[in-house]
C-alpha cells in the first residue's frame, strides 16, 4: 500500500445533481471506448490467479463435510475413525464459531453461526485436513457422523399458508396506495394472473474457495468474494477478532452473481483450521457444496393484477408475492421492486410475505427482485395487450409515467420509450403476427415477443486512492472487485480520461480489504460507485497539478502524459516530483429520494417451438438498453449478453429441485442444474441508447450489470405464446408444460 504521507480527500455526498462531468471535457478520448479488457492478457493466457491458486509453504488441504440430514442435531463426529488414514492431519470443527448460514450482501456483522443444530441439508459441520487434497477428500467422505434427526419444513406447498412479514430491506415488504380492488372492479380491462418461479443457483464457474493463514493474530484470507471490505468485517465478527485483524484478498473472482456477496462456510472453516494447525489451509468447496451450502435465489409465487382504462392506461397495479427463507433470516426476494416505479396507476398493492423453510439460505442472485418479478409483470402486460388487441410495444408507450407513481418525484433519467422504439425498428417487430400460432416453418412454430427491462440504480459509499508516480504513471487502489464486470478496464479509462493518460499507463489494484473501503460488486453499483471515487480523486489531482502550474484547473489540458497550459506543455512526471496522491470518496445523499433512479431497456425475442415435441429454441434476441454514460462499450455489451442469457436460463431451464422429505437438493451439479450452454444461445444483439444521468453520480452513469436479465425471460415467454398459443406461467417453461397446449398438427 502506498500513501504514508497524508493525502487530501475529495468527498462528495450526492445531495444535488452534478450538471457537468469532467469526463465530457477530458482530452484523452478513452472514456466509453470499446477497449480490450485491461486484465485480458492474464485471463486468456491462464495467468490470472484466483483464490484457490495461491500456494504457501506447508499448506494443508481442507475438504468440508456437510450434514446428511435436513434438520436435527449433530450428536458426534468420530474424527479418530479417519485421522489414522495416510496423510490425514485432523478433523476440525467448532460448533459455536463455524457459520451456519452464509452472509448476506452488504452486511458487516457475522452471519448466523453455530453448526451443532442442523437447519438445512448439506450445512457445513466440519472440515477434514490432510497433506493432500485426495487424502482430505477421502477422509471427508468416510467421516462417521451421528445425527439426531428432527422434523423439518421442506415443502413450500405444504407451508405456504404459514407466512410472516419480513422486515423492510431495500424495498418495503408491504406497500399499498388507493384501492386496488375498487380499481379492478371499475377498469375497462383487467388481468389477474398467478405465476411461480423455482429456486435458482448463481452457479458461478469458480467454486467458493478460501486460502487462510495467520501471521501472529492477523488473518489473511485469499477468498473469492465480491465485497472484501464488508466480507472482512463479517469474518472478523464471526471469529470474534478486531476488524483490522482480518484481511480478505480477491484480485480475481470467477463470477459471483450474488453468491459471493457475503462470506460462505469455507471461510470460517479455513480460518479456524489454519489457527488450530498453525499452518496455511486451503478450502475449496466442491461444486455440490456450492449448491448445498451457499445461497439460492428463493422460489416465488406471484399474483399480478392489472387494471386498465379504455385506452390501456393503467389505473391500478398489484404484485403480491410469496417467497421462502430459513427461519430467522431477514432477507426476502424483493420480487415487486421494479413494479413500484415502472408503470403508472394510482391504486397499488405490492407485498412480500415469507414462508419459513429448512432449505439452504435464500439471498441475492443477479438482479434480486426484478429478475423474477419481471417474469410475472411483463408476461401480464403481454396478456393485457392481447386482451385489448393492441401491440405490446404500444401498451408500454401508453404507460410511460411522468412522475414516480408512488413517490411523486421525477425520474432521474428514463429512456424506456427510446429503447422500445429503437428495438422494435431494429428487430423488425412489425413482421410479428398479432395472433398466435400463425407462422410455421416445417415442424417449428415461430413467434416474437418483447418485454421492458428496468433495474433500480443504487449507490454505495466508496473510496479510492489515486497516485501519480514520479514516472508519470498513475496507480489506483480500492477494495472494489472485478468479478467479470470490467472494473479494471473502466477504472483505468476514467483515470486515463481525467489525468490525460493512456489507460495502460494506469495501474489498477483491486480486491484487497486493506485498500480504501468499497461497497464492492453487487446490485449493479460497482462501476458507478468506485468509478466516482476514482473520478473524485482524479479531480483533486487535477487541482494539485493546476496549482503547480499556476493556473486554474479549467485552463489546463491533460493529454498523453502531458499537462498543457498557457501554450506550454510539461510531462506529468516532471510536475509531480516525488509523486502526488489523493483520495476520492462518494456517498449517497438526498438525490436518493429526490428522484427515482433506474436503468431501462427493452428485449425482443424470436423463438421456435417444435410443434411435435414442444421444445423451445431461442432464434434471435435483441436487447436495447439505456444506463446513462457507457464507460466501456465492449465490457458493457458483455454485461448485457450475460444478463440476457441468465434470462434465457430462467425462462427455459433453470430450476433447483429439493427432496420434499429432507430438503436435500436433488440436482446439485452442473449436469442436472441446467444453465444455458453455447448451443442454447443465439448471436444475441445489444444496442445502447445514448443517455446521461446527472442525478446519479459525477460520471453520469447508471448501473448495468443486472439490467440485461430484467424482462429477458418474459420476452421469451411472450414469444412462445406468440409462436404456439401456449402461455405457461410456471417457470421454467420446459417442454412437458408446453406440449399439452400445442395446436393440433
Amino acid at each position: 500500500m502506498f500513501g504514508l504521507g497524508k493525502s487530501h480527500t475529495n468527498s462528495l455526498r450526492m445531495d444535488a445533481p452534478q450538471p457537468t462531468s469532467l469526463l465530457d471535457i477530458g482530452a484523452q478520448n478513452v472514456i466509453g471506448k470499446p477497449l480490450d479488457r485491461y486484465e485480458g492478457p492474464l485471463k486468456v493466457s491462464g495467468r490470472a490467479l484466483y483464490s484457490a491458486e495461491y500456494v504457501f509453504p506447508d499448506m494443508a488441504y481442507g475438504v468440508l463435510v456437510g450434514a446428511r440430514r435436513g434438520a436435527g442435531r449433530v450428536v458426534s463426529i468420530d474424527a479418530e475413525a479417519v485421522t489414522s488414514l495416510p496423510g490425514v492431519i485432523d478433523v476440525v470443527t467448532d460448533f459455536k464459531t463455524f457459520i451456519r448460514n452464509p452472509g448476506q450482501g452488504g452486511e458487516t456483522e457475522a452471519p448466523t453461526q453455530g453448526v451443532e443444530e442442523i437447519v438445512y441439508f448439506g450445512q457445513v459441520i466440519a472440515i477434514v485436513l490432510a497433506e493432500s487434497y485426495e487424502a482430505a477428500r477421502d477422509a471427508a467422505i468416510r467421516l462417521p457422523v451421528e445425527y439426531e434427526e428432527a422434523a423439518g419444513r421442506f415443502d413450500f406447498a405444504a407451508h405456504k399458508h404459514e407466512t410472516d412479514v419480513p422486515p423492510e430491506n431495500n424495498t418495503p415488504a408491504h406497500f399499498g396506495q388507493g384501492d386496488l380492488d375498487q380499481a379492478m372492479a371499475e377498469a375497462a380491462f383487467t388481468v389477474d394472473a398467478s405465476f411461480t418461479t423455482p429456486s435458482q443457483n448463481s452457479a458461478a464457474m469458480e467454486p467458493h474457495a478460501s486460502v487462510a493463514m495467520w501471521d501472529e493474530d492477523r488473518l489473511t484470507l485469499y477468498g473469492s468474494y465480491q465485497i472484501p471490505t464488508k466480507d472482512a468485517m463479517q469474518l472478523a465478527d464471526a471469529l470474534g477478532v478486531g476488524k483490522d485483524q482480518v484481511r480478505i484478498v480477491s484480485h480475481f473472482v470467477g463470477g459471483g452473481f450474488g453468491s459471493k456477496l457475503g462470506i460462505a462456510p469455507e471461510t470460517t472453516a479455513a480460518a479456524i483450521a489454519a489457527k488450530r494447525l498453525g499452518r496455511p489451509v486451503k478450502a475449496v468447496m466442491l461444486r455440490q457444496q456450492v449448491f448445498d451450502a451457499t445461497v439460492r435465489r428463493s422460489n416465488t409465487e406471484q399474483r399480478i393484477r392489472l387494471a386498465a382504462d379504455a385506452h390501456g392506461r393503467l389505473i391500478g397495479i398489484g404484485h403480491e408475492t410469496l417467497t421462502s427463507n430459513l427461519p430467522g433470516e431477514d432477507y426476502f426476494e424483493p420480487a415487486g421492486i421494479g413494479t413500484h416505479f415502472l408503470y403508472p396507476g394510482e391504486h397499488r398493492l405490492i407485498t412480500h410475505d415469507q414462508v419459513r423453510l429448512n432449505l439452504v439460505l435464500s439471498g441475492s442472485m443477479r438482479a434480486p427482485g426484478e429478475a423474477v418479478g419481471m417474469l410475472a409483470l411483463e408476461t401480464a402486460m403481454d396478456m393485457l395487450a392481447e386482451q385489448m388487441a393492441i401491440d405490446p410495444v404500444e401498451l408500454r408507450r401508453r404507460n410511460e409515467p411522468l412522475l414516480d407513481p408512488e413517490k411523486n418525484v421525477p425520474y432521474s433519467s428514463r429512456s424506456l420509450r427510446e429503447c422500445l422504439d429503437l428495438g422494435a425498428q431494429t428487430f423488425g417487430w412489425d413482421a410479428r403476427e398479432t395472433r398466435p400460432a400463425q407462422r410455421r416453418e416445417g415442424e417449428w412454430l415461430i413467434g416474437m415477443g418483447m418485454a421492458a427491462a428496468a433495474r433500480s440504480n443504487l449507490l454505495q459509499s466508496e473510496e479510492a486512492k489515486v497516485r501519480i508516480e514520479p514516472s508519470g504513471r498513475a496507480v489506483i487502489e480500492t477494495a472494489m472487485t472485478d468479478i467479470g464486470t470490467g472494473t479494471y478496464s473502466v477504472l483505468s479509462q476514467i483515470a486515463g480520461e481525467l489525468l490525460g493518460l493512456d489507460p495502460r499507463s494506469v495501474d489498477v489494484r483491486l480486491g484487497d480489504s486493506d485498500m480504501p473501503a468499497s461497497g464492492g460488486s453487487g446490485g449493479s453499483w460497482g462501476a458507478c460507485g468506485s468509478g466516482s471515487a476514482v473520478y473524485l480523486a482524479c479531480e483533486e489531482l487535477r487541482r494539485q497539478l493546476a496549482k503547480t502550474l499556476g493556473v486554474e484547473p479549467g485552463a489546463m489540458t491533460l493529454k498523453d502524459g502531458l499537462a498543457i497550459a498557457q501554450n506550454k506543455s510539461m510531462p506529468l512526471a516532471e510536475l509531480v516530483g516525488d509523486g502526488i496522491e489523493a483520495m476520492g470518496a462518494i456517498s449517497p445523499g438526498k438525490q436518493k429520494d429526490a428522484v427515482t433512479q433506474a436503468s431501462y431497456g427493452a428485449h425482443f425475442a424470436e423463438v421456435a417451438v417444435n410443434a411435435v415435441t414442444g421444445e423451445v429454441r431461442v432464434r434471435r434476441m435483441l436487447g436495447v438498453f439505456a444506463a446513462g454514460r457507457i464507460l466501456n462499450e465492449k465490457t458493457a455489451r458483455s454485461q448485457c449478453l450475460g444478463g440476457m442469457t441468465f434470462g434465457i436460463g430462467a425462462a427455459l431451464t433453470e430450476e433447483l429441485l429439493h427432496d420434499g422429505r429432507t430438503g436435500k437438493l436433488v440436482n446439485r451439479d452442473l449436469a442436472e442444474y441446467h444453465i444455458p450452454v453455447n448451443a442454447d444461445v443465439p448471436q444475441l444483439e445489444v444496442l445502447f441508447v445514448a443517455e446521461r444521468d446527472q442525478h446519479s453520480n459525477p460520471l453520469h452513469a447508471k448501473g448495468l450489470g443486472e439490467l440485461g436479465i430484467s424482462g429477458a425471460g418474459a420476452a421469451i415467454t411472450n414469444a412462445i405464446y406468440n409462436a404456439c398459443g401456449v402461455r405457461v406461467r410456471d417457470y421454467p417453461l420446459t417442454l412437458d408444460k408446453i406440449l399439452p397446449g400445442l395446436p393440433d398438427l
Binding site: E53, M205, F257, R619, I675, A679
Partner: protein
Amino acid sequence: MRFTINGRLHEVEPDIRTSLLDLCREHLGLTGPKKGCDHGQCGACTILVNGRRVNSCLSLAVMHQEDEIVTIEGLGEPGSLHPMQQAFLHHDGYQCGYCTPGQICSAVGMLDEIAKGWPSHASTDLEQVSLDDAEISERMSGNLCRCAAYPNIVDAIREVAGADARTGSDVGA
C-alpha cells in the same frame, strides 16, 4: 512416470487418485486449467492431450505415461498470445475469465477436429463438414460459461477459423 507438459519433460510419481487436473494445479504449478465441477460437466479443465481436447478432471494422472500435454500456459503468454487467445481478447470472449482457459483449449482442439472432417450433431452434411455458427456452438457446448460470453466466443472462433460468412442458427429452418 514421465510425460511432457508444454514441451517440458516431467518425471513424477503421483498418488494414483490424482487427476490430471489436480496434478497440473496442485503439483506442477500450472493453474491455468480450472476446476469448475471436477465431474466432467463444465469444461473449465479442458487441456490438450496429444492434440485432442480432454476434460482433465476426468482423467487420472497415471494414465498419461509418455503423453504430450498442452495447457493454456503452453499456447501463449502475455506479449506473445496464441491467435485464439488474441481473438478471445479482441472479441471479449470472456468476463470473469474462469472458464476461459478451458474454452480456448477446447476451441483449438475443436478446429482441429473440423480440419479432420469429423462431423457433429449439427452437421448437415456428414461428408463435408463446414464451419458455421451452429457447428461452433454445438461443438463448444461442453464448455459452460456462466458469464455467458457465448456470442463473443463464437465470434472469436469464427475469426480464427477464417470463416467469414456470418450464419444464423439453423433451428427451425
